[in-house]
């Protein structure tokens, strides 16, 4: 009998009566969801960020700071910490590459594609591919230009790979470091500026170098005009990605400082592409004659190409 009675549900009554019986008990307040739907406090960052991202895509309002630092919860000496930098799927990498190839004016590459998930996969492997693309294309182009010359002995200039690797990796990592430090310093003077984390800047630079891979392959064509047209196109595309990313970060600063920063970014980019073209690819001779024709022409050609 007592057992069956024990199974009846006991009504606890009103909260107020219980509290009156035991005033010191701890209480929690669970709101009725139908009442408080419109008044729920937003969790910091997550919902607000999505709304702001839509705004940023359309009219460039830059009030929110990026919360890139919040994901890394493991300490830096564990393997899981570094795994968070490779948390991308295949389609995401392709989307980011497409975004770097087709810069749309007004849309910020970082906001649109990276969205607080910067990865190191893209920058690292794009730089590696670019190193080998430049070295191999340069070698191939020199071979084709000097084809037929009796005095030319083909050497696979393997040492150029190490030079290319040093230059490109230094550009892709040291320039973002300098830029990040500079932006941090200016940010301390001018409040309410968009700030990027170091990894996001590395990401932008890495993906913006992607256009140079097909450019390097097409530089094999030994025509001066073609090569310079390719340089212009590549500079236009990647330069505009960089400029559109960093203009919102510096435009609230002093006008001259902002312009100087943008000009420096573009100049370094120009230096990289023109330098690579000049060093790895021999100049195509306009009046290059095949060596089989006559001996005086052969010596003239040999003298010109040395």
């Amino acid at each position: 009998m007592a057992a069956v009675d024990d199974l009846q549900f006991e009504e606890f009554g009103d909260g107020a009566t219980l509290l009156a019986a035991n005033p010191d008990a701890t209480t929690i307040n669970i709101e009725d969801p139908s009442v408080s739907f419109g008044h729920q406090p937003r969790p910091p960052g997550s919902v607000g960020r999505e709304e702001d991202e839509e705004l940023l895509g359309n009219n460039d309002s830059d009030e929110t700071e990026l919360l890139a630092g919040q994901k890394r919860s493991s300490p830096f000496w564990t393997f899981e910490y570094y795994q968070t930098f490779f948390d991308v799927d295949t389609y995401q990498v392709f989307d980011r590459i497409k975004g770097s190839l087709l810069p749309v004016p007004g849309k910020n590459f970082v906001r649109l594609y990276i969205r607080s998930n910067p990865d190191l996969y893209g920058p690292f492997w794009i730089c590696a591919t670019l190193v080998f693309a430049i070295a191999i294309s340069g070698n191939l182009s020199n071979f084709l230009i000097h084809l037929g010359e009796k005095t030319y002995h083909y050497v696979p200039e393997f040492q150029k790979v190490s030079i290319a690797a040093t230059v490109i990796y230094a550009y892709a990592w040291l320039v973002p470091l300098a830029l990040w430090g500079f932006l941090l310093w200016r940010n301390s003077k001018v409040m309410s500026m968009v700030s990027y984390s170091f990894l996001e800047i590395v990401c932008v630079y890495g993906y913006s170098l992607f256009i140079y891979i097909p450019t390097a392959v097409l530089w094999i064509i030994p025509q001066r005009v073609v090569r310079w047209v390719l340089v212009m196109i590549a500079l236009g595309v990647s330069g505009s990605v960089l400029v559109m990313t960093f203009w919102p970060a510096v435009r609230e600063d002093n006008r001259r400082v902002a312009l100087a920063t943008i000009v420096t970014i573009v100049l370094l980019h120009v230096l990289l592409s023109v330098g690579c073209l000049a060093y790895f690819f021999d100049a195509p001779e306009m009046d290059h004659l095949p060596a089989a024709i006559t001996t005086p022409n052969q010596t003239v050609t040999a003298a010109k190409s040395s």
Partner: protein, 236 residues
């Protein structure tokens, strides 16, 4: 078949006896003996195995390792879905292949004086091993569940087709250089490059999460492409 009203159960059972009375029918009597024996069969065999390898002749020890390496070569040449490369990994095969390739690729003493030229022995060695380590790290960082040395083993063994290509190219170059010679060499290197990539992908692709397979396979493609380029541009 005693009713097992054990003492710990009795205090709770007393209050709720009418409801849980049926429980006693399913209790286990303490009188039923448990029979049989529990052995771990593999342990005994492993112990025999270990003690006997100390006493065997050196020839048998070396032959066992060589046979394992040879078996893995066969798995690379005829890539099937098998776990042999992954389960019993070893790094002897990759070492032999890497040293052979680097010896064949290093520049001759004639154009060692120019400032261009082919790769040194150390450069080839470093490219192969650091390339393999980088690809393995990349695969693990992307979330693959292959172990470090298994991946090194697979990547090293799959250089075998490119070693064969190098041998063929060297033999062809003895016949003199020329455009036809170049076309044949190009064809052979391309074929062996494709074979290497297919062989290593067959072993490695399954260990990656499905939406990142292309991300893990691309560095393998780049790695074998660079080695193929070095083989193709080799001039004695």
């Amino acid at each position: 078949m005693a009713e097992a009203e054990d003492s710990p159960g009795e205090q709770e059972a007393a209050a709720s006896k009418p409801l849980f009375a049926g429980l006693s029918d399913v209790s286990i009597s303490q009188d039923i003996p448990i029979e049989g024996e529990i052995t771990i069969p593999s342990r005994a065999r492993a112990q025999e195995h270990d003690s006997s390898t100390l006493n065997e002749s050196i020839r048998r020890t070396i032959m066992r390792d060589l046979k394992a390496v040879g078996r893995k070569f066969m798995h690379v040449l005829y890539p099937r879905k098998s776990n042999a490369l992954l389960r019993d990994w070893d790094l002897w095969g990759p070492l032999i292949l890497c040293v052979t390739l680097a010896l064949m690729l290093q520049k001759s003493s004639i154009d060692g004086k120019n400032d261009g030229g082919g790769p040194e022995f150390a450069e080839v060695f470093v490219i192969i091993w650091f390339g393999a380590v980088t690809i393995t790290l990349n695969s693990k960082l992307l979330g693959g569940n292959i172990s470090f040395f298994q991946s090194l083993c697979v990547l090293g063994y799959c250089i075998l087709p490119l070693n064969i290509a190098m041998l063929i190219c060297r033999l062809l170059l003895l016949a003199g250089q020329g455009p036809i010679n170049f076309m044949i060499r190009l064809f052979v290197v391309l074929l062996m490059f494709a074979w290497s990539v297919v062989a290593s992908t067959a072993f490695l692709a399954d260990s990656q999460p499905p939406n990142r397979k292309a991300l893990a396979v691309y560095p393998v493609f780049l790695f074998y492409f660079v080695i193929s380029w070095m083989i193709l541009t080799f001039t004695p």
